[in-house]
Amino acid sequence: MPKTKDLPGGIIIDVGSTARNKTGSWRTFRPVVDLEKCTGCGICEKFCPEGCITIKKVKGYDKPKCTIDYDYCKGCLICMEECPFKAISSVVESK
């Protein structure tokens, strides 16, 4: 199979390849989910611009919960703002 860089005209065949670019490094604030409070309602998931929230099974809980993929989370905190159960808080990112 040809590689993207071998193709003429700037055609890209590695679809979805921005996923290589971990935008988590941009984050200044980190959203943190309080799994106790999270009802798994999924509202945060709908509004995350990065699509980096999934509502899924988490160890220790029966109901699925909000899970954030910090590889991509840019720290906009929309999830925190929109969570009706105040289940998300923020901390300053420190690496």
């Binding site: 935008t23 490094s25 941009w26 984050r27 200044t28 840019k74 720290g75 990112e93 420190s94 690496k95």
Partner: protein
């Protein structure tokens, strides 16, 4: 002829470009020739961005990018994870990082001097917001001696002419840093 090249590394939205511009103005007020320009990407807020400044005693004709700076200012220590800073500094050059502690990830090589200053803390204290881009120049001025504090103040006034309050606080914080480094 002595010409010095300075690179500022920050995140989109953090004002790295403004920082280089203020520096160019400051140097000019000190009677030097100067030039500042951004490296323009298409990244939005949050992504790493560079900007550059040249300071010289004579007219600056050179218009290439800055590849190996005499001084490199890092506005956000977290960027050190992603950006190879050392490769962008001259042998014997200087890196100044905004950090509470000496950046352990940054291994000095090529005789490079590494400084740090807790600009965020000072910014939060004095300006009330983590605006470090301009005030980091206080550290630069102090360490390099290439611009005067007065020149910086004039440049800040000019840059924030429409926002005198912002100018005032920035000058204050700059001075604080400048003096703290002098000690």
């Amino acid at each position: 002829m002595t010409m010095h090249e300075i690179t500022v590394l920050g995140r989109g939205g953090q004002g790295a470009v403004t920082s280089a511009y203020v520096l160019a103005k400051a140097a000019f007020h000190d009677g030097k020739e100067s030039q500042a320009f951004p490296f323009f990407g298409v990244e939005r807020r949050g992504a790493p961005v560079f900007s550059f400044c040249r300071i010289s005693d004579e007219q600056i004709k050179l218009r290439q990018q800055v590849y190996h700076a005499d001084y490199l200012l890092v506005l956000d220590a977290a960027l050190l994870d992603n950006v190879d800073v050392i490769s962008r500094v001259k042998e014997g050059g200087t890196v100044i990082v905004n950090s509470t502690h000496a950046p352990d990830k940054l291994k000095s090589a090529k005789g490079i001097n590494i400084h740090h200053v807790d600009a965020t803390n000072i910014a939060l204290k004095i300006i009330g917001k983590p605006f470090v881009n301009v005030i980091m120049l206080g550290a630069f001025a102090s360490i390099s001696g290439l611009v005067s504090l007065n020149g910086l103040k004039k440049a800040i006034d000019e840059m924030f002419a429409s926002k005198p309050e912002v100018a005032k606080l920035n000058k204050k914080a700059t001075e604080t840093i400048y003096k703290s480094m002098k000690n």
